[in-house]
Subunit: 414 residues, 4 copies
């Protein structure tokens, strides 16, 4: 088996990471199952870091994509118009925007990664307000390019920038006192703090450990943004696209973001996409071509993404997501009751976290999971295990995966 | 026809740009031809801004990609190991690295856009040296995210950042005197200028107007980098992957870059990819996961990209590229002789530029080209038209496209 | 009278400020009285913004300075050794450092203004820790040069910098909750906030409106500094040198600053000086000449400053300061009781503040004071009047000044 | 003798510098002679780093200052009006501004050090233009506070800042090619370089080693400033006030600076002062109090400074300066002819430099000078010795000093 990985060890950069935790070569994958070159099957509770909400090789998407390629559809179009891009936009408008009364909003495709979309949102907020500072929150994750990285909280990532990460004010997620203190500073001409260009928040922090913004706090952030003339930006890259039991994870929080950032699951099939949803009065601050990107027009992502959007035509799919989320919850609640080393569980829809005593312990557990045929990952500063299986996972597979998880935990904690 | 574009005007961001120059909806494309919804055919001399070196829907790639999807290949894998990623790396090593004696180099996949790869290269240069400043050159284009944008020269892009673009020293491309002055500053303890972390250069500036680095100057930059302990970084995103008549546009310049940045054409099919080629002693400065990105493992790009690499197994393809480049050159040389309003032509391989008197004039010409069924774009600060058709373009199509170009120029210049 | 000021209106910069509030030409001054060219006498409750703690033209200082000049003493010595500098240091050690058990501390003379001394302190903190960020507080005032200005809170000053004011974390003075929140951020690897180089605090904010740090909070700041490995820096420029009833305004707070910053009153006579008091283990981070300044060796300030230090040989002088402070307090307490438009009073020793409803109101009052022969100034964002007469003011003069103040307030408030 | 210095070694900061080169305690000084506590006489060719142009304890100034103190003149006045400030301004206008046709210019007093004045000039340039970048030159010295330090070139000083020194573009002094290259960048929209707020230049670099700007180059800088809409700022702190044979060192260069920065010798007596001379259309960008400073109103500096200005009522004094400069030149020219280890001499008026092979060699020579009763200092990166005796030095003393210098050089070089 070692042999198969020679290429990577010899020729791939030392920066490689996930592959160190799951040291095998995968050859195929279907819905929530991945198969390696030794024909070992793994249940996937990681789903491409939240990209594969509709499963690996979703059959409807496969059909649509193959058909698209066979008919010589436009695979790559920069920001030129194509039929499939139009279909994607129309479906997004009808499925997502119209039901929320947001049909006048503008979608903006960016370079097809989350961090590219975040960079575009930051530029837009700064352009609209003529200000520089962005408020971002602890445990937040917004990407790796310099502008987004300045908003990302984890010092392990920040310390690799090699240059100062400026123009970001750091505050505490879900902390009403901290928010009130920030408000005071922003309205005090003697505080030394200027009103910001924007507030960037994940309604549910995914990499940060499934921390769920409360309605009170998120509305407080929105109000402070409005009161200071700043933009209210929701980074829905990992928590959006149905992951938390409705299309947006903030649907139940009665907020009205100026910019919504989407990526990951939006393309549906695992191919990249990055997109903003901008209020029209904000969007008009853009001049043509002020934030470009070669790969903005990804035909395959439009075709598969449209199939993904159709899952949200009614609430059936969301209800299933919640139901499966509760199945996972039951299992980890039980572990929480049983083990002192389990420090808590958190959930929204089908994104869940279980906290262990230490990063060392989670590493032992996830390694054991891998042995037992389960792919699952730690997040935050390492002490938290996150559950983000495909939303389409079959109930049997889900339960088998949970059973492998419990078995692995028991092997380590006894 | 107007009707087809309602969706975009109503729902897409005001930032849209290329689509304003080619206002039609495309439905299919094959090699160098794009077809719109009215069945009008366009010859494509733009090739997705240099992505589609192997043509739209390259038939070999289509077959490989469809087969890959049909067999449930791993479409999205983060940085986990897959069979197709291994095949891609092995083919890259054998086709590109080994012939250059670079088989010990390390490839690093980044978020799948050029700007993500540039950001990773900048981080690595800063990490290796413990320094902050990057030297970048006028007319250079390196991307839109904050770190890359600080290296990009065009003030039209820079001015949208909304925050200071720090930690970059700006110098003049292809200017030996300026380089000598920079050297003096860097070795003068009383100059106020510290030695930099790296020099980032495009061997052929593409967006900058097909400015071709001379051997003397590029070697001079490399020498100054080495003398100051800085990294020598070649951004080959648009000029690489065969565009200039050999795999790398700098193959004839006898340089030895510490980091090579690739993206655009590397994926072959129009699907995204971003990759660095690092010297091993530099690469080892990375710790696991220090620069991440969700979409680093793009199965389709690996599969199609491998097909693309196979074009370089011998010199046949490169020779064809040069031959077709010369065909274009002949045409634009003739225009240069005929019209005072043509101010010059430049070329390397199959990337060519023709300078006109003003940005307004090029706009009239490219608009006329569109009417005449030719897609071609301006670059730099607008007064230059760039030719980057697919390298695989059929000779007849190429000649027909050139004829449409000449006709359009004549229509405007008389 | 107008005529006398022609020179200034014609030839002096539009930036002039205090002279707009006290539009007359002064020709002489003695203790707490200033006399203008029309022989009008003014009682001075402003004392050169806190410089003239020992009165205008203090007779002992006059004698010492004239004698020094007559004997050709070294007026200007850079940082060379002179007899008078030695005497000043010895007196400072004996009078100030030894009684506090701090005789191993190092004094450092900087360019002779507060802001120069602050800049030196910031450099030292950054050098010692190898970190960049300084924590500074709302309403704090630390000077006008770029490094100090980044620590100064008032946005009216900050907005004139014309460049970003970086490397400062802003927090709230005297706010235990905010401090606790800051502590959490600094120990959370997922907060995005790095441990700072230093905390800079005024134990009593003077320009900020006589806000007196509580013992609990200031010790909290000191503890957080120590816990994070940062330096604890007390800016005693305006509140020190006896102003608050003992030599340092923090003498009763049981703190142990790593660096104390002094200027203003230290020179005694109104001639400039700037000085740090550094713990020896911190001071040794300096290499020779790393922060220079032409005017570090001011003979006149050493000679007069030594006379000033002698006032602190026992507690007599401090007791008088407190007694006079209480006299002022009594008057403004009465106004506070009488008028709704008075919003509060604050005091430490002989620095007091009375808050009015608005900046417009204080402007009317101080203008009336000037008419009535009293020089007194507003501070903070304009709504506060601050009392800082010479500590040596005669009781009769003090009472006459207070009577003029009350009369002026009554004239405005009715 | 050791004993006398115990205080300093025990209680003064490790940062002390000049005193390490001249390790004795001075007790008095008169014109160009300093006397230590052992009654050893030293001839002073350093003159307080260019402050004491009129000699130590200039008798006319002594009389005026003592009289001023005795009559209870206003020693410290912030920016309030005083009789002596008016006299100083009137004398400056009449003696300096009117003869140059500049009587409409505005003088602005800043915190009384050169670096404070530089900071004010930078703010004003940024405020007037709404831009951030300042162009500064290699070997330039402009001060130690953060804004000024960013303009200062010497990396030995810069490296102590502890934070990035931003918003300065570095170029090469007296280099027409570099200037032309800078011009190209500034007018190229594709250079990545924005037009600057100002250019700051010393007409004669003093700390930089007596490098004299050529007329062609300085006018070129002025023209580029005007063409780009930037301010042309001349830092005349060390080279002004008669040092180079006329009041301003640039009087013979036919330039018209927007801002002139003065400090050092302007106060005459060794007491501090800092002042800008602003064109009125620039000055009006200031709002009241936008750059403050406690010690802006220094009565003693006004009184003595007025005496200093009177030296320039006609050309007698300037002619003497030039004559004495030539006497020094003759001596160092002879050394230049005699010794290979002497690498060159430079001069303007009575500021001269002699270059030696190495910093180590100059250190030996200046140490020997001290033994021989001559105070003289090295500058730049250490390999240059600078001559800046008081302009008022008696011819005999000057010649005796030169003889001690020659003797010291011979002792080291043989």
């Amino acid at each position: 088996m070692k042999n198969e990985m020679n290429t990577f060890e010899k020729h791939e950069s030392e920066i490689r990471a996930y592959c160190r935790a799951v040291p095998t070569v995968f050859k195929s994958s279907s819905n929530a199952v991945m198969i390696d070159e030794n024909d070992k099957e793994f249940i996937d509770f990681f789903a491409g870091a939240g990209v594969l909400n509709f499963g690996h090789n979703n059959p409807k998407m496969k059909d649509a994509v193959i058909d698209f390629i066979q008919r010589d559809g436009v695979i790559h179009s920069l920001d030129m118009f194509t039929d499939v891009k139009r279909d994607f936009i129309n479906t997004f408008v009808k499925t997502v925007l119209e039901p929320r009364g947001w049909d006048n909003r503008k979608v903006q495709f960016t370079g097809p990664t989350g961090t590219n979309a975040v960079e575009a949102a930051l530029k837009l907020a700064r352009k609209v307000t003529g200000r520089t500072e962005i408020v971002a929150f602890n445990r937040g994750f917004h990407g790796m390019t310099l502008g987004a990285l300045a908003c990302t909280a984890n010092n392990a990532f920040r310390s690799s920038s090699g240059v100062p990460l400026n123009n970001v004010i750091r505050d505490t997620f879900n902390d009403m006192d901290a928010l009130e203190n920030l408000r005071q500073k922003m309205f005090d001409l003697g505080s030394g703090m200027l009103p910001p260009a924007g507030f960037i928040v994940e309604p549910v922090q995914a990499e940060g450990g499934v921390r769920v913004a409360t309605k009170e706090w998120l509305q407080g952030v929105q109000k402070l943004a409005k009161d200071t003339g700043a933009l209210f930006i929701l980074d829905s890259i990992q928590c959006g696209v149905g992951r938390c039991g409705s299309y947006f994870s903030f649907d139940d929080l009665d907020v009205d973001p100026d910019i919504i950032i989407l990526a990951k699951g939006l393309g549906g099939f695992g191919t990249p996409i990055g997109m903003l949803v901008n209020k029209p009065e904000i969007d008009k601050a853009w001049g043509p071509g002020q934030h470009t990107g070669t790969f903005r027009g990804q035909g395959i992502s439009f075709v598969a993404g449209k199939v993904g959007l159709e899952y949200f035509k009614d609430e059936t799919f969301n209800n299933e997501t919640k139901r499966k989320g509760d199945i996972i919850r039951e299992t980890i609640d039980a572990l929480n009751s049983k083990y002192d080393a389990v420090k808590g569980v958190r959930q929204k829809g089908m994104m869940l976290a279980i906290d262990f005593e230490s990063a060392a312990m989670t590493k032992e557990i996830t390694t054991k999971c891998f042995e037992n045929g389960l792919i699952i990952g730690a997040c935050s500063t390492g002490e938290i295990i996150k559950f983000i299986p495909p939303l389409t996972i079959e109930e049997d597979t889900l339960k088998e995966g949970l059973s492998r998880f419990v078995k692995s935990v028991e092997a380590i904690l006894g």
